[in-house]
Point group: C2
Chain length 433, copies 2
């Protein structure tokens, strides 16, 4: 097969066969196709798209560029969740223990923060001692012992994705539905799962801001997962404001624990229960999503979900003292509160800017080499539709430097818009597919 | 400026400014943008196009990546011709001496064979001793002495084009009108000319097979040349069959000499006179193209055009003995004639395949490292619309090996189609713009 011919084919809007896509991915992974040819191909895919068959072929080729974990030694269903990423999105920390407490295996491979969004691995790193880089043997052992495991992608899992993602990042080819689909699915399918719950975010804090694009991505992800014989449920959910109130790595661990202990209500809990409910349903431990939600609530009420979380932390080497006594966790040097400048109903939040403000404070990486400050972040106290009086507290900013606080403050002030007239609260779960 | 942002801009169908295009070309030429980013940009340009302003900006940026030759020391107009390439297209060898004999300076920078088409430099190389790699000083001196010079692109001329062309060749981004326009024009404008005649080929032996695409390319080339204040005349001409009857480097020199000596009539002479007529008109030595054509015919009849050709060959170090006594030129080891298998009118020729057959015989390069056999080629005896009887000679094949002859023979047989009904002869000059 000839690489240039295949680039031309995609460029001229023709479909590629399974063998052709396999050739491209396997040759690129083996360094037999140079970056400059592959990036030209990626741009052709970006602009001309891929049909659902091609997307499945691409996913398959990327999946089999590495190891597919076999979890057949565990009796019972294995179910994972994937979120397309957002601001304050910490549901993984809640739903993994809840679903595991219900008897569903949750072999979760997560990523780090990307752009303005946080990453599950960075949050887990905020727990002193917590190891996310387990060997495959340790991964299986933790999963077997407690029913859930939370780790990062190893180099054996979908190496093609790692290479292609780096190239997309620097060639303007990130926001492509077939490329995103194959990237997500090649990693998730490598986990050896039976079912998958997808949380596809839409709005100003999501990667897909427009609901139309989000729905196309959701359909592509679901169709592709199904083409591999997986059971899948997709949620399209609102990301026009932070999920929950805490943004920043330790702050998000803290809020997750509050939900797990039944000490926090609101959007974060609502979405977490829906997702874990769907996981429990796919895992065969409930007869419907609703039954799964009810079971999740019971597992919070009776303390088993929280207990499961402590078990996971302990098995992965984390110090549970800070989970049990969060007041012992070190505090940021500077904690500053900011207040509403006027009266009004909170109409919109530029949630991308809130994410960027958290990054500024130290909660994420502005450049590849930045070191994350696990204590840094924002407690954002308002929700869209809330009425605020001049002087009402908007947020609490946690950081190590006054300069960072000032930068973040400006971003937050610029990102919120008040309206004198009442504003309807947005719907959290927009669609279940 | 940020390369990724500029890739995204073109990807999202936005126009790029002069400064943005200049940044991209100059950074790439200085090796500050990696190939993989530039190829992604090229594919975005290929698929989303460029408007006429962007095309001019691109041409300008590529032009000023190198030296622009100043020919102001020569009193009188400097005019060149560019052909988009075809099979048997040897008009440069005829029109340069004709126009120079009329008093127009012809500072011609040509290229080598590309794909199935021949190149002027390869043809000149067939003349023993002929030097095409002159220094800038020699170039100016030959031009001053005899009014014409025929050389290859030096590394000082449009280096950006050389780099970009190599990358396009291996990334499926060759057939793009703005990229072709900027590639051609950046080189031609560097010659320091006042006027340019364009011969834009259409048909099975051209790079643009469809007349619609050819017209778009013609308009783009003409518009761009005009935007640099150049006088330009564009001819859209037929390339559905070889131009003239001889294909192959020495064979084409030979046929050119026949035309220059007034010993050959037909399509090659017709087109050559039209092109030199237009050059003479643009060079201010005739009041119209028609007058220029008449003058060209006179310069052939009175022997001055042929004399000028001998002068150019001599000044560039070539051995004029072979021009004067072509029977002394070495012959191919094998010369084989092939004959019509049936009666009929010649309906179509797959002219691309004729070009490829000549390459097979040794007249061009199948791989980058092939050495050209200057004697090899085809004398193709038929024109579309001719009636042939079974056994009529179709062509004479010249090569050094029987294997090559057999391969070429098959290509030629497969490329011609006979029809029992009379076929109209195609129009040679389809449009003058």
């Amino acid at each position: 097969m000839n690489t240039i011919e295949l680039i031309r084919k995609k460029r001229d809007k023709e479909s590629l066969s399974k063998e052709e896509i396999k050739f491209l991915i396997s040759s690129y992974t083996k360094n037999k196709i140079p970056d400059y040819q592959f990036s030209s191909f990626l741009m052709a895919v970006f602009l001309n798209g891929m049909n659902s068959e091609e997307t499945s072929f691409l996913t398959e080729a990327m999946l089999y560029s590495g190891k597919v974990i076999n979890l057949d030694f565990l009796k019972g269903k294995k179910v994972d969740k994937h979120s397309t990423g957002g601001v304050g999105d910490k549901t993984s920390l809640i739903i993994a223990p809840v679903a595991a407490a219900a008897g569903v295996y949750v072999p979760m491979i997560s990523g780090r923060g990307l752009g303005h969004t946080g990453g599950t691995l960075d949050k887990l790193d905020a727990i002193p001692g917590f190891k996310t880089n387990l060997s495959l043997k340790e991964y299986k052992s933790v999963l077997k012992k407690c029913g859930a495991v939370l780790v990062g992608q190893t180099k054996e899992i979908a190496p093609a994705d790692k290479l292609i993602y780096s190239l997309r990042d620097v060639t303007g080819t990130v926001e492509s539905i077939p490329l995103i689909t194959a990237s997500i699915m090649s990693k998730k399918l490598a986990e050896g799962i039976n079912g998958l719950v997808l949380d596809i975010k839409t709005g100003s804090g999501a990667f897909m801001r427009k609901e139309k694009d989000t729905l196309l991505l959701a359909e592509s992800l679901i169709r592709t997962a199904k083409s591999f014989g997986k059971k899948v449920i997709g949620f399209v959910t609102d990301m026009n404001q932070p999920l929950g109130n805490y943004i920043g790595n330790w702050l998000e661990v803290y809020e997750s624990v509050l939900v797990l202990k039944g000490e926090s209500e609101g959007d974060l809990k609502e979405l977490s229960l829906a997702l874990s409910g769907a996981m429990i349903f796919l895992g065969g431990k409930a007869s419907s999503i609703d039954e799964g939600i009810k079971l999740s609530q019971r597992l919070i009420d009776n303390g088993l979900a929280y207990k499961k979380f402590l078990e996971i932390v302990e098995l992965q080497g984390g110090d549970t003292n800070f989970i049990r006594n969060p007041e012992k966790y070190p505090k940021s040097k500077i904690i500053e509160r900011i207040f509403a400048p006027n009266n009004g109903y909170l109409e919109t939040i530029n949630n991308f800017e809130i994410g960027m403000a958290a990054l500024e404070l130290g909660a994420g990486r502005l450049t590849k080499d930045d070191i994350i400050d696990p204590k840094a972040g924002i407690i954002f106290k308002l929700k869209i539709g809330d009425f605020v009086k001049k002087g009402t507290e908007i947020a609490e900013l946690h950081s190590s430097s006054q300069l960072k606080i000032e930068k973040a403050k400006e971003k937050i002030y610029n990102s919120i818009m008040l309206n004198p007239n009442p504003i309807k609260k947005p719907k959290l779960i927009k669609k279940i597919i």
